[in-house]
């Protein structure tokens, strides 16, 4: 009965958007692409992991080598996220709140790990700490193990994941400006009080966002870690390295079982990222 009105609205829609046929085709293309390249691989990972049943899945995960890899990965992630959190916040604070010579250079340095292939990043540490490397002889003489041990893996991971926290914070802190800090100082707050009472609460969602991405990359890093790890079974294999070893040995269930853990990490990261982005978009209103 409201036919004229319907005609008007549809006419208006036609003015605003592409013809229906083009919309359908474009959406179909996007959905197909995402299915083939994103959803399908994820499904395949889980299908392969459970292909010999639930028991095989869990026994693969409880294998001592697998447990050691999981433990090592968690430890390396904890170390590198922890340190990068501190470095990243300090670097972002310096860049966003102060003007100094060489600021652009510092920003480029922070971005460096993103523009260098992870394998090169790993090789740098081999050159520094390896037996033929810069500090190698001294380390050997003093019986300090960095390469092919946990410190080397942690160092390579820290290097590769360095930009995440700083990158998440710099634009946020620049946008917030320095007025609140100036207000705090004029009210008698010390530098530390200003940081912990004013700056940090204002950037907490940004910090979490950076930590989340940093953690995802730290746990998933392959290239740099592969170079410095030495692949000592049960000792210096992280989860991504173990996945490759098991796969090359045709232990598909075990390989995909470990891979499924990494895939789950990715999914959790994705959900958490969406939630955090909402908080960041809301301009960090308190109480939400």
């Amino acid at each position: 009965m409201n036919q004229p009105q319907i005609l008007i609205t549809s006419a208006r829609e036609d003015l605003r958007t592409e013809p229906r046929i083009i919309r359908v085709v474009l959406i179909a293309m996007a959905v197909t692409f995402l299915t083939v390249f994103v959803v399908l691989p994820l499904v395949v990972v889980f299908a392969q992991a459970f292909s010999k049943g639930v028991f095989a899945y869990f026994s693969a995960l409880s294998d001592p080598e697998a447990l050691s890899a999981i433990k090592l990965t968690l430890m390396v992630a904890a170390i590198s996220v922890g340190l990068n959190l501190v470095f990243g916040v300090i670097a972002a604070w310096a860049i966003a709140k102060f003007d100094f010579r060489g600021k652009t250079f510092l920003i480029s340095l922070i971005d460096l790990p993103f523009s260098v292939s992870p394998v090169i990043s790993g090789l740098v540490f081999v050159l520094l700490f390896g037996a033929q490397g810069f500090w190698g002889p001294w380390l050997q003489a003093n019986d300090v193990h960095i390469l092919f041990a946990v410190p080397g893996i942690a160092l390579a991971t820290i290097f590769v994941t360095f930009p995440f926290v700083a990158r998440a914070l710099i634009p946020l802190m620049q946008e917030q400006g320095t007025q609140e800090e100036e207000a705090a100082i004029s009210l008698g707050a010390s530098g530390l009080q200003t940081f912990f009472r004013v700056t940090l609460p204002n950037i907490k969602w940004g910090v979490l966002y950076g930590v989340l991405l940093c953690n995802a990359r730290a746990m998933g890093e392959f290239g740099a870690v592969s170079v410095v790890s030495g692949h000592i079974r049960g000792e210096t294999n992280t989860m991504p390295l173990l996945v490759e070893i098991l796969y090359n040995e045709y232990q598909f269930v075990a390989a995909f079982a470990i891979a499924s853990l990494l895939a789950m990490l990715a999914l959790i990261t994705l959900v958490a990222k969406t939630i955090l982005e909402r908080h960041l978009d809301e301009g960090q209103l308190p109480g939400d």
Partner: protein, 348 residues
Amino acid sequence: MIEVKNIVKKFGAFAALDHVDLKVANGELVALLGPSGSGKTTLLRIIAGLDWPDAGEVSIDGENALAHGASERHVGFVFQHYALFRHMTVFENVAFGLRVQPRAVRKDEAAIRARVKELLDLVQLDWLSSRYPSQLSGGQRQRIALARALAIEPRILLLDEPFGALDAKVRKELRQWLRSLHHEINVTSIFVTHDQEEALEVANRVVVMDKGRIVQIGTPGDVYDNPATAFVHSFIGESIVLPVEVRDGCVELGGKPLNISADGVTSGASKLFVRRHDMAVGPAGSGAFEGAVRHVRTFGPIQRAEVALSAGEGTTVIEIDAPRDRELQPGDIVSLHPRRYRIFAGQD
């Protein structure tokens, strides 16, 4: 008492402050007035310790302020965009300065609560204490920012464009409120503004700045009635400005002599400044200028007339404010004579 001596501040090649001296006595309410880029905010920030001068001295109550950072100066600073802590309630914003005091002098929780309540009552916003800054209007934010600055019992209070971001009506209300608040708490205060009306209405004393220098200091009446330079005359209050030629104490407009004197003004190209309401209207032939009325608008007790002066080869259109004792009509030929005027040598 605030004493600023010979302050120089440069940003690269640009001199934001160029040898500035200023004394503010206890209990004064002083306006730093100037166009943007005149250095007024920089001067305020230097007094607060948020910026550092390249040369010069700043003392507060006889004590060298430059020996201390902003956090040790006990200076209340109110920012143009309020700078309230967005993640804290109004109450916590005001309490901040009390909570960050060293343990030895910090008040206990009950005393802090009492003090914050007292300040919120002072700015009449007690009912907002559990709100967040984002939930307040501009005028409310401004008053909270002021309460927060007063919490530390500052020796002096500095306000950077305190009404700059507010709409006209709220601005007017807050001006009167600030003046009466200053009367009540009587803390030595300096505020920065680019709005001459605001400066004249609120301050006891006005400091006019231009291009990093102080060009005049005086009471509002002083700077309005006796501007020291052409800049002050045109910046404060509306003026009629006419390019004239001074020759041995005589004034010419477009080659035609005006029967006003220019004693003490160097000969050469000059500018004649007259306030709109200082142009007396008389019958043709009785004054310094002759002109034809083009357009008349009336506002309450005055009428504003556009008058085309015949000056040499061209005509110059000026606006005058005349009382309504004699109604002007478009087309009237009138004579204008400046009751008060100033002539400044030079083109600018």
